[in-house]
């Protein structure tokens, strides 16, 4: 049984069990810390860097998702610097691929789009990359649109950790990184995909979607997956 610890988040005194992440504890106590790669029930990868927080006495900002709470810690979730950096991270994501929200199946239900509204990103200062990348429509039920992918790897993890199929992974590196199905197969030719759809439900944007939905129609639910992992005891 992990011991109980006390910490402050934005001044509020919180008692909780140790060995949990700042992000989990903060969300549980109604704090808002933006994140895109984090999903309850999956391992933390610290990729999106939106959940950065400041911890008193630590010189640098820390990712809340992969920093465990410690007794006596004082965490700040909102500051000018954090807001500025989070905005930059969102802008960089928008600039990286072709996020044409107006014609996206997930318009209105997209976590990236939602965070932009919430954090006040009304424009992207960095030049758009406009990469030419494709769409994989070979799967009978689902679609993969790389234009909307933010490489959060939720699909990778849910497939490997929960479904146990490990269909997805990331190939190449740097800005050339791409989500790939198995060893760069068409999704429709996948040998391991069970068509369970967990990846689609986990995807925060319109990158993975079900076929048959038009603009704005694709809504997703991650809670059933999180509940499942909790029931299985994979992760709290």
């Amino acid at each position: 049984m992990p011991q109980k610890i006390s910490l402050r988040i934005d001044g509020e005194l919180i008692h909780t069990a140790g060995q949990r992440s700042i992000l989990e504890v903060a969300l549980e106590h109604g704090k808002f810390i933006p994140s895109l790669c984090h999903m309850k029930g999956l391992a933390s990868v610290g990729a999106c860097r939106l959940c950065i927080v400041e911890v008193a006495g630590v010189g640098r900002v820390l990712p809340a998702c992969s920093t465990p709470v410690q007794d006596g810690m004082a965490v700040t979730t909102q500051s000018d610097k954090l807001r500025r950096y989070r905005k930059i991270a969102l802008e960089l994501l928008f600039a990286e691929r072709n996020h044409v929200c107006a014609v996206c199946v997930s318009n209105g239900h997209c976590e990236l789009q939602g965070l932009a509204t919430k954090l006040g990103v009304t424009g992207v200062r960095y030049p758009y990359t406009f990469p030419k990348i494709g769409v994989d429509l070979t799967h009978k039920k689902f679609t993969l649109d790389q234009n909307r992918c933010i490489l959060c790897t939720r699909c990778v993890r849910v497939c490997a950790e929960v479904e146990g199929a490990h269909v997805w992974d990331v190939s190449s590196r740097g800005v050339g990184s791409r989500l790939v199905c198995e060893l760069n197969r068409k999704w429709g030719e996948s040998r391991n995909c069970t068509s369970c759809g967990k990846c689609v439900q986990s995807c925060p944007t319109g990158a993975l979607a079900e076929k048959g939905f038009a603009v704005e129609e694709m809504t997703k639910r991650t809670e059933p997956i999180s509940r499942l992992t909790a029931l299985r005891g994979v992760r709290p």
Binding site: N107, G108, A116, V124, Y128
Partner: protein, 176 residues
């Protein structure tokens, strides 16, 4: 007090943002009480005037005419606002950007056409290599994203600007 000069411009867009401007309804009456609309699809003016206080730009910068016009506008406008996703992000017009202009025109005017079979050259401006959001071409002071932006958001921005305040759009607008 003299009235402010407001202009609107329609570059590479669908005019949906201008529709949204009209959707401001009675706020429009408030606006014209405080400002003259001196240029744009809604009024009859041939030349973009000097000394404009506020210009709302709809659409991406896609061709030579857009480019020249927006540069002129920037020189003559105090506060330039990118209105709607095309102006803010490039949006739908920018979906052509991965395709070379020549191939694009071939596809549209040769392969996809029953007559003529060649891209038009007379009377149409040359396309730029990429359709760009306005701020990648000239300095933009404010962005109102949305496809189209909500009339409320436009009304809020225009009224704040006319009142001499800086609008705060966090939580009020969204892309798409």
């Amino acid at each position: 007090m003299s009235k402010a000069k407001v202009a609107t411009v329609w570059l590479d867009g669908c005019s949906g943002c201008h529709m949204s401007v009209l959707d401001m309804d009675e706020t429009l009456l408030e606006v014209v009480k405080r400002a003259d609309i001196v240029y744009g699809p809604l009024v009859d003016a041939q030349e973009f005037p000097e000394g404009v206080d506020l210009t709302l730009v709809e659409g991406a910068v896609s061709n030579q005419d857009d480019l020249k016009l927006i540069q002129k506008i920037r020189g003559r406008t105090k506060l330039l606002v990118a209105l709607g996703d095309c102006a803010v992000t490039g949006n739908v017009p920018s979906m052509r950007n991965g395709i070379p202009v020549k191939a694009l025109l071939e596809r549209g005017y040769v392969e996809g056409s029953d007559v003529n079979h060649r891209p038009p050259t007379d009377g149409v401006p040359a396309l730029l290599r990429n359709a760009l959001p306005v701020h990648e071409v000239v300095r933009v002071d404010l962005h109102i994203p949305g496809c189209p932006p909500k009339a409320d958001a436009i009304a809020y921005v225009v009224m704040e600007v006319l009142a001499g305040r800086k609008p705060e759009l966090t939580g009020k607008v969204k892309f798409g």
